[in-house]
């Protein structure tokens, strides 16, 4: 029970952090079809900006300014880069963002150095909120939950209550229709890309001091975000939300559950015997491969249900 409760909380926190990152990418990927490899770079930039800003004027302004800065950069990238590349096809766009990720990493290294920067949790939030069975639950994690919940609410309202939100929502389901609706497509795209980047930046601001702010943080966070987005399904923020929490919880519980994938598959009706291909892999205890589970799930869901959890169309 003790382990369960604490793991649940941990899983939620991690899942919500993933969601903050993935929600932006879902918007971008679903609407523009861009596999944005620079998304995790925006996460990193958010953390570094917040670090620098918080050194001068404090954490709270940074919480607002850093995402705005990231959003501005995102808008600039879309207007002066991606838009040009768009007509050259999706692979070109993907490579564009890939090149961007390389450049951002190097620029970050040159600006802030190669070693981690001391981006710390603000003093006002650096206390244990409550204690569960002897494990402290830091207030900052509660704060992360709060911010991400607020953000989820804000996106939801933005999508359902504003004009551009409704356009974006329509476009999420039928991207080919945006133009037909007579809207200013480039402006919608810029808005979406900027918003997505800003969301990643926000995730960086509150994730950077929870984790460690270093030049490799984008590199390590990149693939998992794709997994969440594709798993949740294109065009569905709700799917993305569920997938994020699911991935957070799966990875958290995988650590505390000493079972093998074979046992998990049995649950779904597959029996793994020594004759099964890769049985050596499948019978490894879960904690050892917990972090790989998302990739297994990714492959499985794409093979059997290519539209993802709640996607509106095939990936």
């Amino acid at each position: 029970m003790e382990v369960f409760l604490v793991s649940l909380l941990n899983g939620l926190v991690y899942g919500m952090l993933l969601f903050m990152l993935a929600s932006g990418l879902t918007l971008i990927l679903s609407m523009m079809g861009v596999l944005n490899f620079a998304h995790a770079s925006a996460y990193m930039l958010g953390a570094y900006f917040a670090f620098t800003i918080s050194q001068y004027i404090g954490f709270w302004p940074a919480l607002v300014l850093a995402p705005l800065l990231c959003g501005t950069i995102g808008a600039a990238i879309e207007m002066y880069g991606l838009r040009r590349v768009h007509r050259n096809g999706h692979i070109a766009e993907l490579l564009f963002t890939f090149g961007l990720a390389l450049i951002i990493e190097k620029v970050v290294q040159m600006t802030w150095g190669l070693i981690p920067v001391p981006y710390r949790i603000p003093a006002g939030l650096d206390f244990p909120l409550f204690t569960v069975y002897g494990t402290q639950f830091p207030a900052y994690r509660a704060f992360m939950l709060l911010i991400s919940a607020l953000m989820f609410g804000a996106i939801w309202l933005g999508l359902t209550r504003t004009r551009i939100g409704l356009v974006i929502q329509a476009a999420l389901h039928h991207p080919e229709m945006v133009g037909a609706l007579g809207h200013n497509v480039p402006r919608v795209f810029t808005t979406v890309f900027a918003a997505g980047t800003a969301l990643a930046g926000l995730a960086g601001v509150i994730g950077g001091n929870y984790h460690v702010t270093e030049p490799a943080m984008a590199f390590t966070m990149g693939p998992i975000v794709f997994v969440v987005v594709v798993f949740g399904g294109l065009g569905s923020l709700t799917g993305c939300f569920i997938a994020s929490l699911l991935m957070g919880l799966i990875q958290t519980f995988a650590v505390v559950l000493d079972y093998s994938v074979a046992d998990l598959l049995k649950w779904f009706g597959f029996t793994v015997t020594s004759a099964t291909p890769f049985h050596e892999v499948l019978t490894v205890p879960l904690p050892r491969i917990g972090a790989l589970l998302p990739y297994v799930l990714l492959v499985l869901i794409l093979v059997f249900r290519p539209r993802g959890l709640m996607g509106t169309r095939d990936t």
Binding site: G33, L35, G81, R84, V85, R87, N88, G89, I91, A92, E93, L94, L95, F96, F98, G99, L100, A101, L102, I103, E105, K106, V107, Q109, M110, T111, G113, L114, P223, F226, V227, V230, P277, E280, V281, V284, R288, I289, L292, Y295, V296, L298, V299, L302, V303, P306, D314, T315
Partner: protein, 446 residues
């Protein structure tokens, strides 16, 4: 899709008649020239004072050869079949592991196989895993395919570290290419002998891949790339086409991996890692995925960047990033695309008239590149390189990066060069348009 002719160039000239001996000779000579050139190239780096080949140059050229096979096999999926894979390196690496294990078995006397055929074992290994992973991955196409291959890539890379038996863990599988069995009585103890083997296999693999594009499967792969639905209604199962193409490309990737095992005599988890897959993607795109030989050109550029420029500057990744962005923005057809754009003008016989305009834009271009490189190196030097105890030099002249002069020089070269380039580009564009219009008028566009 951009409408430049490059994308179609390879399909544009199909010979409908059976190749006569004259036609064969005509088509064989570029291959022979290329092979001879490849064999002559290392002598440029030969050290006549010690009578030794440059091991560095040979290894680099071998790397180009085997990576070219890898990039071309990647392009069998991306360029030919429209399948963007993020995990192609697993086929390359697993082929390499198979080859390494085989060489060890031969060395231990457990089996008989000449060194020359070891890449073939790598190829069969690649084929086997291509069949295995292809079965899963080719159930889907487009983004779903890309994501499945990404997932498979991550999984295999992680397994390569975890499972000692086949992968040898972090240390990888090391091997010895001097196994004493050779078809031609060669020991392969010197890099030069290995390089010759690499050239031979590269020629064979490239030729086979080239021929594969002209087979029913290769053609239908193009067809499913263009319009997978239509392919169904001419009787083809697009999934099966994808699957066969995937498995075959695994075969060739495996040959590359087998050569890797021979050249480096060790295969580690890095060969299956995402970075290797990315290299193939970059090579294919830089060179031009639309043409068959694009990835070959791209490989040369990428290997030189990775192994050459990285020796000169630790900001090389930044240059790579900038190169890609510039390429995707201004030359989506890759290097082959740029070259092919000149074809109509060349056919109109007026290519010579472009020399002066080119010089006029290359000059300011070089200026702005110089400014950009200078600024990046300065920034990199002040934040990272300074403490390595070296002086910052522009040519032979040492410069103090703490002063404003080099920065101003860099900025001036970049901005000035950029503005000048803009000016010259207008003239160039006018000249270009005029020549293209002429080509059009002469009816030599296609």
């Amino acid at each position: 899709m951009s409408a430049d002719a490059t994308q179609r160039a390879p399909q544009g000239r199909t010979l409908s008649a059976a190749p006569g001996s004259a036609g064969l000779a005509r088509r064989a000579w570029p291959w022979l020239v290329a092979i001879v050139a490849a064999l002559l190239l290392p002598w440029l780096f030969f050290d006549w004072s010690t009578h030794r080949h440059s091991g560095f140059a040979l290894t680099m050229l071998s790397e180009i050869g085997l990576m070219a096979i890898f990039a071309l096999s990647f392009n069998m999926q991306m360029g030919q079949a429209g399948l963007l894979s993020f995990g192609h390196a697993i086929l390359f690496g697993l082929g390499g592991y198979c080859a390494a294990h085989t060489m060890n078995a031969v060395k231990a006397g457990a089996m008989w196989l000449p060194v020359e055929l070891v890449p073939l074992v790598g190829g069969l290994g690649g084929l086997l895993f291509g069949v295995l992973f292809g079965y899963v991955a080719t159930k889907q196409r487009a983004t779903a395919f890309a994501m499945i291959t990404m997932g498979l890539g991550e999984l295999v890379a992680a397994c390569a570290l975890m499972f000692m038996g086949f992968f040898g863990g972090e240390g990888g599988i090391s091997t010895d290419r001097v196994i004493g069995i050779s078809l031609f009585g060669v020991s392969y103890s010197s890099s030069w002998q290995v390089y010759c083997l690499v050239v031979a296999w590269t020629a064979i693999a490239v030729l086979l891949m080239r021929l594969q594009t002209q087979t029913p499967l290769g053609r239908m792969a193009n067809a499913t790339r263009d319009n997978f639905e239509r392919a169904q209604f001419v009787g083809y199962d697009p999934r099966m086409v994808r699957f066969c193409q995937f498995a075959l490309s695994g075969f060739f990737a495996g040959i590359g991996g087998g050569l890797y095992a021979i050249v480096y005599e060790i295969v580690t988890f890095d060969t299956v890692a995402a970075a290797k897959s990315a290299t193939a993607l970059l090579a294919a795109y830089i060179g031009g995925a639309g043409g068959f030989f694009g990835p070959f050109l791209g490989t040369i550029v990428v290997v030189l960047l990775q192994s050459g420029v990285s020796l000169l500057s630790n900001a090389w990744l930044l240059y790579v990033g900038v190169l890609f962005i510039v390429m995707v923005m201004y030359a989506p057809g890759g290097l082959v695309g740029i070259i092919a754009q000149h074809a109509p003008i060349a056919r109109a016989g007026r290519l010579r008239e472009l020399i002066v305009p080119y010089v006029r834009i290359l000059l300011p271009g070089a200026f702005s590149v110089f400014g950009f490189v200078l600024l990046v190196e300065l920034a990199s030097f002040t934040t990272i390189g300074a403490a390595q105890g070296k002086a910052f030099k522009i040519g032979p002249q040492a410069v103090d990066p703490a002063t404003a002069f080099p920065w101003l020089l860099g900025a001036a070269a970049l901005i000035g060069g950029g503005l000048w380039l803009r000016l010259e580009a207008r003239g160039f564009r006018a000249r270009w348009d005029a020549l293209m219009a002429d080509a059009k008028a002469k009816g030599v566009m296609l």
